[in-house]
């Protein structure tokens, strides 16, 4: 959908000395989307964001914003605003002056400026804090100022570089919701960088998972989570069981695999070429199982094993279940509904919940 692509990155390469930080990366971010670059540290996601912002010059490739090539535009003419990991508030300016800074640079008239600053401060929930200094604010408040400062200039694209990573868990979750709400209300395109898969999944319309300077997979969170294209992806985005298996039969929409003594027909992934006899991995999320005491009525694929360990996580109970020679991770929702399981158990799994990844 090129007509609605807002930020287009094509064949972007960026090297630092001999190290290739970003290696031929291409992706489109749709207009109005909450797009996230997700990956472990050093994967090139922040570099990509900074190239989009104009802080780095790419060694190859183009950046387009709203269809216009911006490679030759300086950072301050790109219509992007950035929210930094450490907020980067101007310590010598009050909250109000921080937020007003971009408007001042754009020579917005004083009364108009005041109005917009007040609106934005209210929008991020900082009414009445305008005269404070950055060092008088809590981390969460500083983060809100940083967001307000970027939003107030009404950028075409808002770039956010791990903006929540310095906050504690509770606050992080709260601000996550707020950010998502704001983005929806403004209909603004956000490009967000994080290493936290949970954050990415909960916020994004679209995620690109990066590894070693490349985009491993891009798509909606659902697709990324349940249908990862590689074992790295499956493992990086949440807990997963990755089980070696072999393709024995191929059919339309289905593939039959063997793993250990088991044989099952599961969903055939659309974009992956498979052949009979190929070694693959089965990717099963822990919450896809149903776990019950041994002897329960089988449903779909059934595996019998015994509980090796378990961990109480509050909203779920995680079991490590020994089936044949390997342990499977299995999550049971609402653990308080019954007594914790022990000893022999049976696991059942619907075939469409098994995702096949080529080895």
């Amino acid at each position: 959908m090129p007509e609605t692509a807002h930020v287009q990155v094509s064949h972007l390469t960026k090297r630092f000395g001999g190290v290739t930080a970003v290696d031929d990366v291409t992706f489109d971010v749709p207009k109005g989307a909450f797009a996230t670059l997700l990956g472990p540290s050093g994967c090139g996601k922040t570099t990509t964001l900074r190239v989009i912002a104009g802080f780095y010059d790419p060694d190859a490739g183009d950046i387009r914003i709203g269809g216009r090539r911006v490679n030759d535009l300086p950072a301050h003419r790109r219509g992007t605003a950035m929210v930094f990991q450490d907020y980067a508030l101007f310590p010598h300016m009050t909250v109000r002056d921080n937020v007003a800074y971009g408007l001042r640079v754009a020579r917005v008239k004083a009364n108009e400026r005041d109005r917009r600053v007040n609106e934005t401060l209210a929008f991020v929930g900082l009414q009445g804090m305008g005269e404070r200094w950055p060092n008088q604010l809590s981390g969460g408040q500083q983060q809100r100022v940083a967001v307000a400062r970027a939003l107030v200039i009404e950028p075409q694209v808002l770039l956010l570089d791990e903006p929540l990573s310095n906050l504690d868990a509770k606050l992080r979750e709260q601000l996550r919701v707020e950010l998502r709400t704001m983005q929806r209300r403004l209909g603004m395109t956000f490009v967000y960088v994080t290493h936290d898969q949970e954050e990415a999944l909960s916020l994004s319309d679209w995620i690109a998972v990066m590894n070693q300077g490349r985009v491993e997979q891009a798509g909606d969170p659902w697709e990324i989570y349940y249908h990862p294209r590689t074992a790295f992806l499956a493992d990086f985005v949440g807990a997963v069981n990755l089980v070696p298996a072999r393709v024995t039969e191929l059919a339309d929409g289905a593939v039959t695999v063997t793993f250990g003594p088991h044989r099952a027909a599961v969903r055939r992934p659309r974009e992956t070429a498979l052949s009979v006899g190929q070694d693959v991995r089965l990717c099963v999320r822990p919450e896809s199982f149903t776990i019950a005491a041994a002897g329960a009525v089988p449903n779909g694929i059934t595996l019998s094993g015994s509980v090796a360990r378990r961990a109480f996580l509050g909203d779920t109970m995680r079991y490590w279940v020994k089936v044949d020679d390997r342990e499977w991770i299995v999550d049971q929702p609402d653990p308080g509904a019954g007594a914790p399981l022990d000893g022999p158990v049976s696991l059942s799994l619907r075939p469409e919940r098994v995702h096949v990844i080529p080895d």
């Binding site: 010059d57 301050h76 980067a88 508030l89 101007f90 800074y101 770039l159």
Partner: protein
């Protein structure tokens, strides 16, 4: 480089800085450097008269740097670590020697410690020979330990108290913590401080001139070739040797300074207090500092008494005759010139150095290391040659319409660039790039970001640059001696004349007036800036 092409204003600003540096740093020095010509260098080098002064320079630099750094270290350690009393007083005393023309300290030193010195002869009945290596060593130690103190205190105070607390927590004694944690962590900064002090000592002219006796060092050789024999070309050759030595020290310093500095520099000031040292150590620090402060006060007290008596120390009748003399005729003009030139030069130099520092430290363009080097180079050029270079380069018929004051101010500006530049570089290292990028991403050009964000945040560096340049400008003689004209005479020229005419009382009174004026000016500036009175040597 591409970022420069995208911002023509930034490119223009950079080119302007480069042109100014080429014009006012490189071009005048080339004039001096090429003066002897190849054959001039050859015959001078063959003559070999430079060998002894070179050896003496190296010897004196090694000796004086060692003692100045040791004393400076004691003073700095006491100020940063101990819980001794009177810290504010000691800090003030430590600043005093930075404010006076060094040759006056040497003259005072002679009165105190010469063979008929008030202390040596009057108190102890000894008649030591104050001239020679020992004399230079002694007075340079007094004159330069405050520089070392400023530099070392800066390094020590930046070391992280948390690590010291952690080491104490693991059961190490204060002594052990100091040797195993503080010192290793500060080592690169300390080494840089030592080398910076060494450069000051190496360049020192006034003290060896007055106390050298038979011992000639490179700066005095260069000067005596000019003043005694009018031999400009040989003097220029000596200057080139000196410049190469100083540059060697600078390169070593930059090597140590850059890269692997372990001194924790974070924007977040560590609020953790330093672990306490034993009370006995604090007392020892107090006594040590008191002794050093006493020594300094003695030197300046001698100066003040000299200014207020007929002919110290032979005729101790009180008089204000010397001060009356300072107030007569064109002497007031000289003081006023000193004030105006120094203030103008300090303001321009500090701002220009800050801007140049930002361009070099934050820019990504080819040749920035060369500009970095050129901005540091003036520190390695003896003032006398900076002055001669300016005269040769800019005393041109087509420039005759320019008032000579500007040439003096420009010379002061660019001779002192390294001070502000290094302060800016140190300050920039403590400002995260993202703060500038934030301004850029909000629509400000890089230049605008510099002005709105970097400049206000580097207020400290700007102050260090301003104050140090001001102080150096007030106290310099060698730089202006070839540039002044009758209407642009400055205080140090008058003091020099009076010392030459053996009018010690007048020289002392003039010096007291000069120092007082500088102090009053600094207090006024501090008041105007509504900031703290930050006095510092060129920070490493």
């Amino acid at each position: 480089m591409r970022s420069l092409r995208r911002e023509p204003a930034l490119l223009l600003a950079l080119l302007a800085v480069i042109v100014l540096v080429l014009l006012f740093v490189v071009y005048p020095q080339v004039q001096v450097g090429v003066a002897p010509g190849f054959s001039g260098y050859l015959s001078f080098l063959e003559g070999g008269t430079w060998r002894i002064p070179l050896q003496n320079s190296l010897k004196v630099t090694a000796l004086s740097t060692t003692t100045a750094v040791l004393l400076g270290f004691v003073y700095a350690y006491a100020m940063v670590y101990s819980q001794m009393r009177w810290k504010a007083f000691f800090n003030l005393i430590g600043i005093l020697p930075l404010l006076s023309p060094p040759f006056v300290v040497a003259a005072s030193y002679l009165l105190l410690f010469g063979n008929r010195g008030i202390i040596t002869y009057g108190v102890f009945g000894q008649s030591p020979n104050p001239y020679g290596i020992t004399g230079i060593w002694g007075v340079q130690t007094i004159a330069f330990f405050p520089f070392a103190y400023q530099l070392i205190a800066d390094v020590l105070s930046r070391s992280d108290a948390r690590m010291e607390q952690a080491a104490r927590n693991l059961g190490a004694s204060p002594w052990r913590v100091f040797w195993t944690v503080t010192l290793p962590l500060s080592r690169p900064g300390l080494a840089a401080a030592i080398l910076t002090t060494a450069i000051y000592v190496l360049e020192d002219f006034g003290n060896p001139q007055l106390l050298g006796g038979l011992v000639t060092v490179l700066p005095t050789q260069a000067y005596s070739l000019i003043s005694g024999f009018g031999d400009y070309t040989s003097a220029a050759a000596v200057c080139t040797i000196l410049l190469l030595l100083a540059l060697g020290l600078y390169v070593a310093k930059i090597r140590l300074d850059g890269g692997r500095s372990f001194v924790t520099i974070s924007g977040r000031a560590s609020s953790m207090p330093r672990p306490p040292v034993p009370a006995a150590l604090s007392w020892a620090c107090f006594v040590g500092c008191l002794a050093l402060a006493g020594l300094i006060l003695l030197v300046y007290g001698t100066l003040l008494v000299s200014a207020l008596t007929f002919a110290f120390p032979y005729n101790l009748r009180l008089t204000i005759e010397h001060f009356q003399y300072v107030a007569t005729g064109s002497n007031g003009d000289a003081l006023r010139n000193t004030l105006f030139f120094s203030a103008a030069a300090a303001a321009i130099s500090a701002v220009f150095a800050l801007f140049a520092g930002w361009l070099v430290q934050r820019g990504e363009w080819p040749g920035r290391r060369l500009l970095d080097f050129l901005l540091i180079m003036p520190a390695a050029i003896p003032g006398i040659f900076f002055g001669i270079g300016y005269l040769t380069a800019f005393n041109q018929p087509w420039l005759d319409w320019v008032d000579r004051s500007w040439l003096i101010v420009l010379a002061l500006v660019f001779w002192n660039i390294p001070v502000g530049y290094q302060a800016a570089a140190a300050g920039l290292r403590q400002i995260d790039r993202s703060i500038e990028e934030a301004a850029t991403s909000l629509g400000a050009s890089k230049l605008r970001g510099f002005w709105d964000v970097v400049r206000p945040m580097l207020g400290g560096s700007l102050r260090v640059g301003f104050v140090t340049t001001f102080v150096r400008a007030v106290t310099t003689l060698s730089l202006v001696i070839f540039l002044f004209t009758p209407p642009t005479t400055v205080a140090t020229i008058r003091i020099y004349q009076l010392v030459n005419d053996l009018d010690w009382g007048g020289a002392a009174a003039f010096t007291v007036a000069d120092i007082s004026l500088a102090i009053v000016a600094l207090v006024v500036f501090a008041f105007l800036a509504r900031g703290r009175l930050v006095l510092g040597a060129a920070r490493a």
